[in-house]
Symmetry: C2
Subunit: 292 residues, 2 copies
């Protein structure tokens, strides 16, 4: 298929993720128009065949499919304010809250655009790989029409449903593991350093540990969906017992473990709520605030 | 090889992990002696061919290789107090602090035993699988002599070094990801429930997210080992920007996100220490308490 027959796409916002998105589209032969607030970022893409638009409005008006990768939804609507969006498909790929995605959808449809809000669940270097996950919520006609083009950005491309805030919602739900898991890893790194051991020596073990955690996710999801925590592979009490070790470790290494205190509090609240012998997934009940 | 030629092993402590260890040994044809404080736990193992000892001392004295899977190091030395351990190889597989492992080593060697302290980095159902990881620290002659037997418990069996507290140290370093990552997942579950969506719908996405985190571990280890955080794939500032979304999410869903506050504090402390544009792995520097 020649470049001429591929959907023309505009990409606004050329941070590291936006550049990766635009590059994947150029490489796949899509006529690609790019724009960035700081024009220098466009140069490597122009060298590969992209066209640089002088303004955001010109970029948005150059293609039927407009992909934005700006910092926030507020940035996105502000940058697109002067653009004629009627009849265009607007796809956002930025972080933001579900409320922000809903506001963006109202703004975009109010200007006559069809709207999809998506999220890239990976790092820029993974863009374009067959296994890279991107998910979208919003107008299913946009997804149906441009699915092939969107799959250029990552082979595992999913439409979550018609509600424009679904990607933001799943992004926050799934992403809630990231910072806590990383800080746990960095704490482990600091523990090894306190003994003069290289952090690289734990990489293989930590990777296996993440594999083990991954293997438990369907089990926990089932327990939570059923609201039945009685068949506990790892009980709340088991995690309660681990707290004392954390304190001993903090005492003998030079590591600040105070960030773990609210996690131990959650475990104790689960115990107090009668979940001691229940699965640790019963912590979900404690994380839900009482309604009213 | 007939059962007679396999190393006789005693397993003390038949909780879910201890039972799995004993069963793997019985299944592999090792003459296996078992003991548990509550004798009923031994029955299924005895039905498979294990011999139940009446006392912990009798169990320990029945085999050259004694594996304990009791709750703590204190329980272990208390249970073994009446046993003649001279000349035996004692292998502990329980949770505990590095200090606890060192005290246990002193106790065991003081009684003439050779000592290894290990940890199973997996769930009981994974015991015996070729990929299951167990690591050990302590007397390398025990590891060399019994490596084949120890590999019955998991094919990925590693000797970390001669110091008896190394498994406890790595266990704590690697294990520091577990509770934080799980609570992140349970928070995500509560977020989806607040919208009436099944938690099972996020399992695949969360699994991919863990794969992505796993793929970053060697990169972060290298940055921390070099102490060079300047080539940032994901900067401290990027995580700082995510905090606002967490607050918005807490506001619109019925989920208690207060446990994240100290994590956001760590991110802000890294910013204050000049790491804003550095890799998020620079949080390791903040987790290390100032010496003195």
């Amino acid at each position: 298929m020649s470049g001429e027959s591929r959907t023309p796409v505009s990409v606004l916002g050329l941070g590291s993720m936006g550049r990766a998105l635009a590059e994947a589209l150029v490489d796949a032969g899509h006529p690609t128009t790019v724009w960035n607030r700081t024009p220098a970022k466009a140069a490597p893409l122009v060298a590969k065949g992209a066209v640089e638009a002088e303004t955001a409005a010109a970029a948005a008006e150059a293609s039927p499919l407009v992909i934005t990768c700006l910092t926030t939804f507020e940035d996105t609507s502000s940058v697109l304010e002067p653009a004629a969006l009627s009849g265009r498909a607007l796809v956002t790929l930025n972080s933001g809250s579900p409320a922000g995605a809903r506001a963006m959808a109202a703004w975009a449809t109010g200007r006559g655009a069809r709207f999809l809000a998506g999220a890239v669940k990976n790092v820029p270097s993974a863009v374009g790989a067959p296994d890279t996950l991107l998910y979208y919520g919003g107008d299913s006609t946009v997804f149906a029409e441009y699915e092939t083009t969107l799959k250029v950005l990552g082979g595992d491309t999913v439409h979550l449903g018609d509600e424009a805030d679904l990607a933001a919602l799943y992004e926050m739900a799934v992403g809630a593991m990231l910072l806590p898991a990383l800080v746990g890893y960095f704490q482990g790194a600091a523990v090894l350093q306190s003994r003069g051991l290289p952090v690289s020596s734990m990489v293989r073990f930590a990777g296996k540990w993440l594999d083990m955690i991954k293997s438990l996710l369907p089990l926990y999801a089932g327990e939570i969906d059923r609201g039945d925590y009685t068949d506990a592979a790892s009980s709340v009490n088991l995690f309660l017992a681990a707290e004392a070790h954390d304190h001993e470790l903090a005492a003998e290494t030079n590591v600040d473990t105070t960030w773990l205190a609210p996690l131990h509090d959650l475990v104790r609240r689960a115990l107090a709520a009668g979940h001691g012998e229940h699965s640790v997934s019963a912590l979900t009940e404690v994380l839900r605030k009482p309604v009213g």
